[in-house]
């Protein structure tokens, strides 16, 4: 087709080229020739002309000329034809070349387009190309027609050639001219078209260029990324075989990887994991990330962060995965280091805060304890003043009513003292200072006394009962003071929270509880103290019919300063210390304190304690003694009595006159005891000076009657202890306060008696041996004012002490040199040597062991030297200043000169008592 067209075109081109070429080279000449030869050429015209003008003039002469010119014309025409042919050829060649050129360009453009379309999937079919082709096809058609025309013309010409040559040629020339013109026009049109198509080509080329550029940029960008990103990229097929891989740091060649799976390529830790992970992603169809640590022979231990996403084909089927891995080993190491660091930091911080907390708590506790101790002491001092004064008051002449009131006052005061002692006890238990004492006591007695005491201050219509089973030993060994304390606490609690019904104590022997078996070894160790003792466990229930304790409050019941609820605290008052002390004491003694309770029905506090059973020999002795003692009681007591009941006798002391129940329903034995009656009975009863009670008196003064046995057993070991370590004063002091408060809480009036007994006994002792004297504090008063001396001495006497007198500092030094004192009361302003100087010299003596400083100060050398041999106190001698509270006698100055404390003048009984309490232990 193309070939055919080409030949056709060539033919046509020939024609066209001829016509186009004509005017330039030959046109004018031919025109001239034709113009000249027209008449000659055209026969008819010639004839007509010749007929008209020259038929006569030239016939034969002109013929050769004519022939000649005809020949000439023929050759000219031949030339022309030749020339035309040549031109034709030339034009057609040129046209063909141009066509070819065009064709090639078109082809090229098409190829480019195709390429672009193929390359970039451009699916457009160049709409502008079509018209061009169409037009050309139109042209072809026209050309074909023309060719036919030409062919027809040519035939005609050939025919004409034969018959009428000039006219024919004329005609032919004319037709050729026309054709040439047409051809020229066509050529022009074609050129225009060509230009047009070239233009369109150009306009087509522009977006392609742009796209190409973009492509190039994108490619460059991708290259940059690929070359610089520290990542591994891969594409794997469904079977996880690599189809593509990019690795910035290739350690394997592509052919080693492509077509293989991870497992086939690598060996070692993490490979399987990554494979599984990829498979998982493939199965789930969800892109995901994971950090996998590889340990392969190829590149050691490295951690990669791997991102895998599934790849789908157009149908939505999974055909593989894209995977991207980035090495994050360093980061992981860093991260782990950071994590560890952070962890360490957190741990350290936690420890720090814990430590701070502990420190804080410790500090708080210490401060609290310090405060507690200080407070307790602060309270105790004035309180002992109150109690002491009341005691002194009770020695004066009082009528019955006054005495009764005073007794109540004293016992209340003693109760408060007891409470303070409790607080101190608690801190002692907590700090581990508390020592338990093993003393013989009778549980029945203890229960009875506790109930009695409770009954004495009972203001409600409650029945107090004690129930002790027969198997409870008559006497056991334990720390009776503490046990009493526990019982008293529990009972007073029970009473506090009970409005009607009963409050009672029940004692029974039980088998060794499970919690104690672990401690069996310790118990065994305790037992080998020479005495033939066996252990017995006694369970003590303190029960009431009170308000009860809600179950949720039980856990915090034994916490310090906690009560079942704030409502209770408001309603019933109390420190919330009691149960805490009880629990601690019970635990200290190796027992257990528990509670069971029902709201509105009552509570039972149970404590189980181990006791040692005393030998039966002791028991019989004691019993005799005990029965002797109890003879005087209106209702003789029985040591084996197992049941007591106390009814409130409100009418006797308190005017509100609560109901007094009859004895009818009391099952066993009833003791109706008015506390006042009891006290009076005791006071009235002078006969209790058995052997043992004498011992008691030495320590405590006539602490009598029922409680006597108990106290005696309490204090005997103490007095022994006193002599043992020679530092007994603090001990006896403590026991004295304990026992006195204990005694007075039961029978307050006795206290003064005992005080008196003590003092009188001390005066006797003064004449006695030195051994006795050590138990009595020696006090030196340094004072120049006779009146002051007189007053102070009298006060000391009241307090049960005697004292030596020195009238000035020098005398004081001499006195101290001669014998050792336990306390010095020193006036500040004195003649000869004032108190401050004297104190300084005494302190210097204590430090250096000689009186050199005093001698230097002008104290008589002789007396001092003579007596140098005397025993001097190794302890710091407490020196209390007596100041008039003026500027000259400031307390600071006292302290600065080595004094321990000061009493402001005038000295009062209370101040003196406090001072003695503080410094005479």
């Amino acid at each position: 087709m193309v070939c055919e067209m080409e030949t056709d075109q060539i033919e046509e081109m020939d024609v066209e080229v001829l016509s186009s070429m004509w005017p330039d080279d030959v046109g004018t000449e031919a025109d001239k020739q034709f113009n000249v030869e027209k008449p000659a050429g055209d026969l008819d015209m010639l004839k007509e002309v010749t007929i008209k003008e020259e038929p006569t003039i030239a016939d034969l002469t002109k013929l050769p000329e004519l022939l000649n010119s005809t020949h000439q014309g023929t050759s000219q025409i031949t030339n022309l034809v030749k020339q035309w042919n040549y031109m034709h050829d030339n034009a057609s060649r040129l046209l063909r070349e141009e066509l070819l050129n065009l064709d090639r360009q078109r082809e090229e453009a098409e190829a480019k387009e195709l390429k672009i379309i193929e390359d970039y999937k451009f699916e457009s079919n160049e709409p502008e190309n079509v018209p061009v082709l169409d037009e050309t096809s139109d042209l072809f058609r026209k050309f074909r027609q023309k060719k036919r025309d030409v062919l027809v013309d040519r035939k005609k010409i050939e025919i004409n050639e034969e018959f009428d040559t000039v006219a024919y040629w004329k005609q032919k020339a004319l037709s050729l001219e026309k054709m040439l013109e047409a051809s020229t026009q066509r050529e022009r049109r074609l050129i225009e078209k060509l230009h047009e198509s070239l233009k369109t080509m150009e306009s087509h080329a522009a977006p392609v260029q742009e796209l190409t550029e973009n492509l190039k940029r994108a490619e460059g960008f991708l290259h940059f990324i690929l070359q610089n990103a520290p990542i591994v990229m891969g594409h794997q097929d469904k079977d996880l075989r690599y189809l593509f891989i990019y690795n910035k740091y290739p350690s394997l060649r592509e052919q080693d990887i492509l077509g293989k799976t991870d497992v086939e390529i690598f060996h070692g830790g993490g490979v399987k994991e990554s494979e599984d992970f990829k498979r998982e992603v493939l199965e789930r169809g969800k892109a995901s990330k994971r950090e996998i640590t590889f340990t392969t022979d190829l590149f050691g231990s490295k951690t990669f962060l791997i991102y895998v996403e599934p790849v789908y084909n157009k149908a939505g089927e999974k055909i593989g995965i894209n995977y991207m891995g980035m090495e994050v080993t360093d980061q992981v190491v860093k991260r782990e280091k950071m994590a560890k660091l952070r962890e360490d930091n957190a741990v350290r911080k936690a420890m720090e805060s814990e430590l701070n907390k502990t420190i804080h708590i410790t500090e708080e506790t210490m401060r609290a304890k310090q405060m507690l101790a200080t407070m307790s002491h602060e309270i105790r001092s004035p309180l002992s003043g109150v109690v002491g004064m009341a005691e002194i008051l009770s020695t004066t002449k009082l009528d019955k009513e006054q005495r009764q009131l005073l007794n109540v006052m004293i016992s209340s005061g003693d109760l408060v003292l007891q409470l303070i002692n409790d607080i101190l006890d608690l801190s002692k238990v907590e700090s581990g200072v508390m020592k338990l004492e093993a003393t013989k006591f009778r549980p029945r007695e203890v229960v009875k006394h506790v109930l009695q005491t409770a009954a004495a201050s009972l203001k409600k219509s409650l029945t107090l009962e004690g129930n002790i089973t027969d198997d409870v030993p008559i006497e056991v060994v334990g720390d009776v003071l503490r046990i009493r304390q526990i019982l008293t606490n529990l009972i007073s609690n029970a009473i506090k929270f009970t409005h009607e019904g009963q409050v009672g104590i029940k004692l029974q022997v039980i088998s060794e509880p499970s919690f104690a078996r672990e401690n069996a070894l310790n118990a065994g160790a305790d037992e080998d103290n020479g005495l033939t003792e066996t252990s017995v466990w006694i369970r003590c229930d303190v029960y009431d019919t009170g308000i009860g304790i809600p179950e949720n409050a039980i856990p915090c019941l034994f916490k310090k300063y906690m009560q079942a609820s704030t409502d209770h605290a408001r309603k019933y008052g109390g420190t919330g210390l009691g149960l805490a002390i009880c629990k601690q004491l019970v635990e200290l003694m190796g027992g257990q304190l528990t509670v069971t309770s029902r709201v509105n029905e009552g509570s039972i506090f149970t404590f189980i304690l181990p006791y040692k059973v005393a030998t039966s020999d002791d028991y019989s002795d004691d019993q005799d003694e005990f029965s002797d003692m109890t003879d005087h009681q209106s209702e003789p007591d029985d040591t084996t009595e197992g049941y007591f009941q106390f009814k409130p006798l409100l009418g006797s002391i308190y005017s509100n006159g609560g109901p007094v129940n009859g004895n009818d329903f009391l099952p066993h034995k009833v003791m109706l005891t008015s506390p006042v009656k009891l006290i009076n009975g005791l006071v009235a009863d002078p006969s209790n000076n058995t052997e043992q009670s004498e011992t008691v008196q030495v320590e405590n003064g006539g602490y009598v009657d029922e409680s006597k046995l108990e106290t005696s057993s309490v204090h005997c070991p103490e007095s022994a202890h006193q002599y043992e370590n020679g530092n007994g004063r603090c001990f006896s002091k403590e026991s004295e306060s304990c026992s006195s408060s204990q005694a007075s809480s039961e029978s307050g009036t006795l206290e003064m008696e005992s005080e008196l007994t003590v003092s009188s006994q001390r005066e006797e002792e003064k004449a006695d041996t030195d051994l006795k004297e050590t138990s009595k504090p020696k006090i030196l008063l340094v004072e120049d004012n006779k009146i002051n001396i007189m007053v102070a001495k009298s006060m000391m006497k009241q307090l049960g002490h005697t004292m030596d007198i020195a009238n000035n500092g020098v005398e004081a030094i001499n006195a101290i040199n001669r014998s050792s004192y336990d306390l010095v009361l020193m006036d500040v302003c004195m003649p000869v040597l004032d108190g401050l100087k004297a104190t300084r010299l005494i302190r210097s003596y204590e430090e250096s062991g000689n009186w050199n400083a005093a001698i230097e100060a002008g104290v008589d050398k002789k007396t001092l030297e003579n007596d140098q041999v005397c025993v001097r106190s190794t302890n710091r001698l407490p020196i209390i200043a007596m100041t008039a509270n003026t500027l000259a006698e400031s307390s600071e100055e006292c302290y600065a000169n080595g004094m321990d404390s000061f009493i402001s003048k005038p000295v009062t009984l209370q101040k003196l008592r406090e001072c003695l309490q503080q410094y005479l232990h």
Binding site: M389, D784, N785, I787, V791, M795, K797, A884, P906
Partner: protein
């Protein structure tokens, strides 16, 4: 008899209270009274007697010292007044004590005029107190003689 005792007791009580209220005595005197017991029934009287003797002696000492015109030994006066102050404080002689404080101040500032004036006042005061206490003791004695008990006086 009982009415007499009661009357005496009331009188005693009133008188004691008046002494306190008028500032002749203070709590220290109460302290002294507390110290008086069966063992030393006349303790207060003894102490007070001693005190007045002391007063007399000290005051005359001071008067002598102040009499040395132009050459007054203020130190001597000071130590005496200190003594007196201590004694009066111990006894509870409130007014005397107060005057002693003033006298001591005058003495410390070597104020002769002041010292003399104060001393005179002390002299008057202690004598007044002596008389008043004498009355009080007389009352006590009367009560005791009448078989009554000396009442506790709460101030």
């Amino acid at each position: 008899m009982d009415t007499l005792i009661a009357q005496l007791q009331r009188q005693f009580r009133d008188y004691t209270i008046s002494l306190y209220h008028q500032g002749f005595l203070d709590d220290q005197f109460t302290e002294l009274k507390k110290l008086q017991d069966e063992c030393s029934p006349d303790f207060v009287a003894e102490v007070v007697t001693l005190f007045f003797e002391d007063c007399e002696k000290l005051i005359s000492n001071m008067a002598r010292a102040l009499d040395q015109t132009g050459n007054v030994d203020f130190k001597l006066v000071g130590s005496s007044v200190h003594q007196l102050k201590g004694s009066s404080s111990s006894v509870g002689a409130k007014r005397v004590k107060g005057l002693c404080v003033t006298l001591k101040e005058c003495c410390d500032s070597q104020n002769f005029e002041g010292c003399v004036r104060c001393l005179q006042q002390v002299d008057i005061e202690y004598k007044t107190l002596k008389a008043k206490l004498q009355d009080l003791f007389n009352l006590e004695q009367q009560i005791v003689q009448a078989g009554g008990r000396i009442p506790q006086v709460d101030i």
